[in-house]
Symmetry: C2
Amino acid sequence: MENSAVTTYPVISVISNRWSPRSFDPARLLDTDTIGSLFEAARWAPSASNEQPWRYLIGVNFNEEHRAILDCISESNGRWAQNAPLLIIAVGKTTRNDLPNRHFAHDVGLSLENLFLQAIGMGLHCHYMAGFSVDKVREALGVPEGFEPITAAAVGYKGSPDLLSDDLKEREQQGRQRKAFSDFVFSGNWEHPFPEL
Amino acid sequence: MENSAVTTYPVISVISNRWSPRSFDPARLLDTDTIGSLFEAARWAPSASNEQPWRYLIGVNFNEEHRAILDCISESNGRWAQNAPLLIIAVGKTTRNDLPNRHFAHDVGLSLENLFLQAIGMGLHCHYMAGFSVDKVREALGVPEGFEPITAAAVGYKGSPDLLSDDLKEREQQGRQRKAFSDFVFSGNWEHPFPEL
């Protein structure tokens, strides 16, 4: 598939086919079954003590809530994300049994990656955004104390890159890069890159 | 598959088939290609600004490093995790360009879920553990300043539950539970559960 990961070892197709396009097709809306499968996937992630600290604020098919979420996203992301029919703010519950839960953000990540790969499995694409206003989300979307907005994401069917402005079109065609195994997999001790990879 | 998620909406099989068994088969070791595919999957997760804040400390096939990691895991987890041929400590880099990276733990979660689903796709199972000693990991495994040990995980082929002690065998057979959609998916505002799910 276009822009698939170039891997040394094979991986399942939903992983190799996932990348972060900026071109979404605003004409292809999402039906309830599709949205249901995305959040069903998110729902079945593991979490510390099965706390399930993830919450999702969503705007669908350019409804009022979609506009409210778009308004919280940085301008540089918004100019392409506005065309994605599903906009998401992922929020984490910071405590468990009234004590800090050191895994809350990590567990939101486990859940959100399930959602992303489910999207790929259904022929959709997704793009994770760190750039949004946490304060605006808190105020405009009513996130209560004890919950932390963590990530934004856009989901939809891919559109033609020709609809993007020239600078975004160029970024769409950039190659994808990742660290070498020796930079992130260690044999027991931090000093020893895993020798066989 | 045994213990598959009971879902309202269909999800891809690697998600529905993932659960957290305690019975691993210590006789089935992992070869380099299998380990390579697991960390290739982890490698291709998205992250904020493509920082890739994840690092993995691993012990394989009951080598010395496997024992060192096992020694950091809580006793209640260790008594079953000791049979899994791959033990992992997932670590996050807390900064980006010398500033705090508020997404580091979340992004480790994105990466680790890729690894978990890749495991399922290859017929392996995995079990995420919050219970381990962060201090022991720091000291015994040499994690430097600026990095935070976040999660432990066990990966291997499933073994017979009959090898487990009676209390663990009983937990192995417990049903799996998740929150209702109305408890974690909201339409734009926190006050409004997404009406269609």
